[in-house]
Each structure stands twice: as structure tokens, then as C-alpha cells.
């Protein structure tokens, strides 16, 4: 076991995959000598050279589109969007091309590629360096979407994503990059896409979360156990698409109450899909309203410290939401 933070885990995952498979390459803005603005690719340029760790112009459409072409050609590209907020020029490539290529070619062209994107707030990044825009991509058939919340999951899911035959949107919550260190299993640690993780067992209600919210939910659960005697089950979804419905429904069956937590705004957010599915398929087990706790309905995270704090979810806000739900 090695202890590392999420950033180091992602880097180690890419390094191992590049070593294992010479078709794997990285492309993006500042990924080369600089090693990425967050340092995710630090050292890989020196190890693998300019062609496999390729600095691109500031052209997100090109990053996604050329990665798609390379994947058609037989490479396994990892494309980095510097921030998830800057992915929109690539939206046409991701939604019109990358997600649909396999279907529209009747299965003859697949796109094994990964698009890594730092997302989320809490780092004073304001409207354009804080977005949680996963719902655009979870709503897009043909993509897989993952959002790890621990170093072990970050490494394991990154490796699974690189090996996956289909395009994977890999969401990295930037506040978690250096938030904590934790053990990552040695060896070829791969976490399968499409499997949620029950990270804290509980009998009173279920909290469904991903990314940074896993950390917040676990902290909230400890507070609730200590102060209220409420035992919350915390389920880290890890993969948003395909959703591990079996694990979600098993938890609801056990606890009877569901709280879905994400930092993105509520309306049409990913939580709506989780909540609706629980309501449809787990109805007979419910003894309280399926509840969402989400970011506020504003177009982005405002900059000033007080405004940002108002925006961000926190363990305290999760505790409040659980207390309301647990009262049923």
C-alpha cells in the first residue's frame, strides 16, 4: 500500500497505463513540460516525450476532436480539459461525434478515449473555474461518466477508463486533489466502471454522493451518529453513467430513506435521475420523500469568500438535510 493524494493517484494511474500500453497518449493544454496547471501530468513529459505527452494550442474542440481521430486510428488518448468550465468549445465533438460514433457506424467505429476534467468549487475559482457540469454528459447516451472521491478510486477508475472500449468523461473534483492522503493498493489496481461503493454502513437512511461530496457526507454521517444517534449509510456512486442501480436500490431497501447530494445545481441535475429512479423502482421500500441536496440555482459559484461559502455544500448542510429527512 502506498499513501497518496488524489492528484498523485491520477498521475500514477496514467503513468502505469502509459508504461503498460504504448498506444496510450496524453494531450491537452500545458500538460507537457509544465505538467498541467494542477500537476496531474508532472514528470510524464520527461518520461514519455513530447509526442505522447502533447501540449496543444488553446483549442478544446481540437483536443477532443483530434483525440477522437487518434482513437479511430487505434490509439488510446487521454485528453485533458484544463478546467471542466472550458469544455464547451469541445461540446460539439463530445456530443455530436464522440458519444455517437459507435452507434451511428453500427458498431464499426468505437472510441476508446478518456476526457479528464477538473471540476467543482471551493477553490476561489468563481463562475469559470468551479463548475460541476456533469449533467450535460450524464444526459448524453454513448458516454460513460465517472467521478471518483478517493485516491484509490481515482487511480483504479482512471486505469479502467483508459482500458475501456468507449469514451469516458473523467471528473476530478479539484478541491479534493490535495485534500487528503489515503492508501492505494499496490499492483495493477483497477476499479471497474459502473460499480458504486457503500463506504459507510447505516440503517436509518442512505446518502448517495460522489466526488468531494463523499468526504462531506462521511463527515456528516459521523456527526449524526455522535449527536443524533442516526446511522446514515453513505454510498459513493463513483460512476454516474452507467449507474450502479443494484447497489443504490439495495441501500434504499435497507434504510427506506434516500438523500442524493451533489454540488451541481438541483434543476435537471444528475440527482434528479437518481431520485426519479429510486422513486420508480424502490417505491415500496420508501418511508420518506426522496430528497435532493444540491447547489443553489445560480449560474455559477460567485467569487467572494462569503458568497462562495454560501454556495458550497458542506458537512453541516448535509447534517441539516439528513435531520429533516430522518424526522419522517
Amino acid at each position: 500500500m502506498a499513501e497518496m493524494n488524489i492528484l498523485e493517484a491520477i498521475r500514477a494511474g496514467m503513468d502505469e497505463e502509459m508504461e503498460r500500453d504504448e498506444r496510450v497518449m496524453i494531450l491537452g493544454e500545458d500538460v507537457g513540460k509544465k505538467g498541467g496547471v494542477f500537476g496531474a501530468t508532472d514528470g510524464l513529459f520527461a518520461k514519455y516525450g513530447e509526442k505522447r505527452v502533447l501540449d496543444t494550442p488553446l483549442t478544446e474542440g481540437m483536443i477532443a476532436g483530434a483525440a477522437a481521430g487518434a482513437a479511430i486510428y487505434g490509439l488510446r488518448p487521454i485528453a485533458e480539459m484544463q478546467f471542466a468550465d472550458f469544455v464547451y468549445p469541445a461540446f460539439n465533438q463530445i456530443v455530436s461525434e464522440i458519444s455517437r460514433m459507435r452507434y451511428r457506424s453500427n458498431g464499426t467505429f468505437g472510441l476508446p478515449m478518456v476526457i479528464r476534467m477538473p471540476y467543482g468549487g471551493g477553490v476561489h475559482g468563481a463562475l469559470y473555474h468551479s463548475q460541476s457540469n456533469e449533467a450535460y454528459f450524464t444526459a448524453t447516451v454513448g458516454l460513460k461518466v465517472v467521478a471518483p472521491g478517493t485516491p484509490a478510486d481515482a487511480k483504479g477508475l482512471l486505469k479502467a477508463s483508459v482500458r475501456d472500449p468507449d469514451p469516458v468523461m473523467f471528473f476530478e473534483h479539484k478541491k479534493t486533489y490535495r485534500l487528503f492522503k489515503a492508501d492505494v493498493p499496490d499492483g495493477d489496481h483497477v476499479v471497474p466502471i459502473g460499480s458504486a461503493d457503500v463506504v459507510r454502513a447505516g440503517k436509518d437512511l442512505s446518502i448517495f454522493c460522489y466526488g468531494y461530496m463523499r468526504t462531506c457526507a462521511l463527515e456528516a454521517a459521523e456527526t449524526l451518529a455522535r449527536e443524533d444517534g442516526v446511522e446514515a449509510e453513505v454510498v459513493d456512486l463513483r460512476t454516474l453513467r452507467p449507474l450502479d442501480l443494484a447497489t443504490v436500490l439495495a441501500s434504499v431497501e435497507k434504510t427506506g430513506k434516500a438523500l442524493v447530494v451533489h454540488e451541481a445545481n438541483r434543476f435537471g441535475g444528475f440527482g434528479a435521475e437518481v431520485a426519479a429512479t429510486i422513486a420508480e423502482e424502490g417505491f415500496e421500500h420508501l418511508d420518506g420523500p426522496v430528497t435532493r441536496l444540491a447547489g443553489p440555482e445560480v449560474p455559477g459559484v460567485p467569487y467572494h469568500h462569503d458568497l462562495e461559502e454560501w454556495f458550497m455544500l458542506s458537512p453541516a448542510k448535509i447534517v441539516d438535510a439528513v435531520r429533516t429527512l430522518a424526522a419522517y
Binding site: 498506444r23 497518449m25 494531450l27 509526442k51 505522447r52 502533447l54 496543444t56 494550442p57 483549442t59 474542440g61 481540437m62 477532443a64 476532436g65 483530434a66 483525440a67 477522437a68 481521430g69 487518434a70 482513437a71 479511430i72 486510428y73 487505434g74 490509439l75 468549445p89 460539439n92 465533438q93 455530436s96 461525434e97 455517437r100 460514433m101 459507435r102 452507434y103 451511428r104 457506424s105 453500427n106 458498431g107 464499426t108 467505429f109 468505437g110 447516451v141 454513448g142 460513460k144 472500449p165 468507449d166
Partner: protein
């Protein structure tokens, strides 16, 4: 005198009499397929078609230096002659238009004109224009990363030449001298909007200079001029000297598509005059002057093209319709067993 010069031209290019006749044959076949599709559309067998008539000379000639089953092509919706020159058959194209279940392009999933074919190294194309240009650049990047001797070619119209993704693609290809050929088939109209309202500076080719590689303008009615440019572009790419942008000035002999009527925005005299620039007419004339083509050969080639299209249509129509039970397949990769 003209004859001697013309002869010198194709022989100097390393093309035999048979080669140029083969090029002409491919152009004739593409035109025959195209005309048949209009008939089938009017007969109600095809919902929609988008034509390449007037583009055949540029398309066949620019595809000619490309190595089949080795190089790659990312075509566009008018690329009937390009895809034929790169290996697709008349039957493949008609089958795609009839949306049959075993259509190589999409199995009946895409609209007519959305070519693609894994067996031919032809990338599946979509409807938002210009997206395929980045795929060609990505393929060229892949070849460059791996050190492979592979060239990617992509084609699009001058309307598409204005898309941001096309500029992102050319810029990136220029930075790394990627082995890619950009073929802009400039027919002067983006549906109804004429060149002077679409292209600042009026020249697509001139834009290449800003991206650090040559841009050349060629007469699309002169296949040998197009071939010359394409062969040079291919050689440059293979030598590692980077991309070339070829702007072929072509004519659009038909309306934009079967849903369009160009009489609403083009002067009838202008449309009539386009026939003078029909590449099939011009190329036939050149070949006649060379003594390669005469009435007898012409008649035979046209009869062969017609027979091929008849046979292709007959076979395509007999192919199975897509099975609705398969409509949810190939969203994601399937386990090998189902493959």
C-alpha cells in the same frame, strides 16, 4: 500542339493512358450513381439525397494518390466520387441511401449521404459540418505519434471552411506538420449563400499561409490539375513536411439537396452556364484530344457504368431492412460473443 502538351502532362505525372481512363471511369460511375439516386428519390424510394454532381473531377483526382486500405479519409456529404475512388462500391453507396440493415456506413441508422466504412478506412461522418476535419487531423496525429507512414485526407465545402473546428484543425496540423491533406471543394454556395457573403478575402486557400503550410487553388473542372496538387500534397505528407490545403474550384450542378430548389436564389442563366464547367465534359474532351477516348470507348464506358449501377441497385434493393430488434445495439461496446 495542345494535344502534345496535354499528353505530356499526364505522362509527366506518371499516369498511363489506362490510369486516366480509370479516373474517367470512376467519375462516370459516381455521376451515374448520383443520377440514379435522384431518380430513386423522385420515385419515393429514398427520402433525401445530397448530390456531388460537378465535384467528381476534383474528388476522384484528389483521392487518386491516396493508398487504399492504408491511408485514411474523412469525407463529407458530397463525397460520392471520393469514396468510390477510395474503394467504396456503387452498391455500398446505394445501399446506404436505401438504409438497408447491412449498409456498411451505418446499418440504416444515418441519413443518406453520411458515408463511412471501417473496411475502407473511411471515417463515419455526421451532419454538423466540419467535425470530420478534426478526425482526419487526429488520425494524422496518431500516425505521427506512432511513426507510421500514413496520410489522412479530409474534404469539405467552402461554407464549412469557416467553422472554428476547421481552423483549430488546420492550426494544430500546421504546428506539428501532420500528414494531412485538406481538400476544400469550393462550389461557390453554402446552400443559398454565395461565396462573397461567406468567405472574407474570397480565398480559402490563402488561409493556409497563416497556419504555416501551402494552400493551392486548382480548377476543379481539370482533374489533372487536381491530381497534380493532391500528389504533391501526398508526397509532402509522406516526407514529413506537413499538411497542404487544396481549394478546388468546382461547380454545384444541382440544388444543395433534394429538399432545396436553387432557382429560388440563383439566376437560371448562371445555372445553365455551370454546365460548361462540368468536369466530366471537360475531362472527356481532354481524353479525346489525346486519342485515349473516342465515341466507341465513351459509349462502352457509359454502358458499363449504367450496367454497374443497375446491378448495384438491384442488389441493394434486395438487401434486408434493419431489424428493429437491433436498434439498441452498439450504444456501447458489446461483449465479444454478441459481437
Amino acid at each position: 500542339m495542345a494535344q502534345t502538351q496535354a499528353k505530356a502532362r499526364h505522362v509527366e505525372l506518371g499516369l498511363s493512358d489506362d490510369d486516366v481512363l480509370d479516373m474517367y471511369r470512376a467519375m462516370l460511375l459516381a455521376r451515374a450513381v448520383d443520377e440514379r439516386m435522384w431518380l430513386m428519390q423522385r420515385a419515393g424510394k429514398i427520402a433525401f439525397i445530397i448530390s456531388g454532381q460537378g465535384h467528381e473531377g476534383a474528388q476522384v483526382a484528389t483521392a487518386w494518390p491516396m493508398r487504399r486500405n492504408h491511408d485514411w479519409m474523412a469525407p463529407y456529404y458530397r463525397s460520392i466520387a471520393s469514396t468510390i475512388a477510395f474503394g467504396m462500391s456503387a452498391e455500398d453507396i446505394i445501399t446506404a441511401h436505401l438504409a438497408k440493415g447491412d449498409d456498411v456506413s451505418s446499418g440504416g441508422r444515418q441519413m443518406p449521404g453520411h458515408y463511412g466504412g471501417a473496411p475502407y478506412n473511411i471515417v463515419s461522418l455526421s451532419s454538423p459540418v466540419g467535425t470530420q476535419v478534426l478526425h482526419a487531423v487526429g488520425i494524422a496525429m496518431g500516425a505521427w505519434v506512432r511513426g507510421d507512414d500514413v496520410v489522412a485526407m479530409t474534404s469539405y465545402g467552402e461554407g464549412t471552411a469557416n467553422q472554428g473546428e476547421v481552423h483549430e484543425a488546420m492550426n494544430f496540423a500546421g504546428v506539428h506538420k501532420l500528414p494531412v491533406i485538406f481538400v476544400c471543394e469550393n462550389n461557390g454556395y453554402a446552400i443559398s449563400v454565395p461565396l462573397e457573403k461567406q468567405v472574407g478575402g474570397q480565398s480559402v486557400a490563402a488561409r493556409a499561409q497563416g497556419y504555416g503550410f501551402p494552400g493551392v487553388t486548382v480548377d476543379g473542372a481539370d482533374p489533372l490539375a487536381c491530381y497534380t496538387a493532391a500528389r504533391e500534397a501526398h508526397e509532402r505528407a509522406v516526407r514529413g513536411e506537413g499538411p497542404t490545403l487544396i481549394e478546388a474550384r468546382v461547380v454545384r450542378l444541382t440544388s444543395h439537396s433534394s429538399d432545396d430548389d436553387q432557382r429560388r436564389y440563383r439566376d437560371p442563366a448562371e445555372v445553365e452556364a455551370l454546365k460548361q464547367q462540368d468536369p466530366l465534359v471537360g475531362f472527356a474532351q481532354q481524353l479525346r484530344e489525346l486519342g485515349i477516348l473516342n465515341d466507341e470507348v465513351e459509349e462502352r464506358l457509359r454502358a458499363e457504368a449504367k450496367a454497374e449501377v443497375n446491378e448495384a441497385s438491384r442488389r441493394a434493393e434486395a438487401r434486408p431492412e434493419p431489424d428493429v430488434a437491433t436498434a439498441e445495439r452498439h450504444v456501447y461496446a458489446e461483449p465479444e460473443a454478441q459481437g
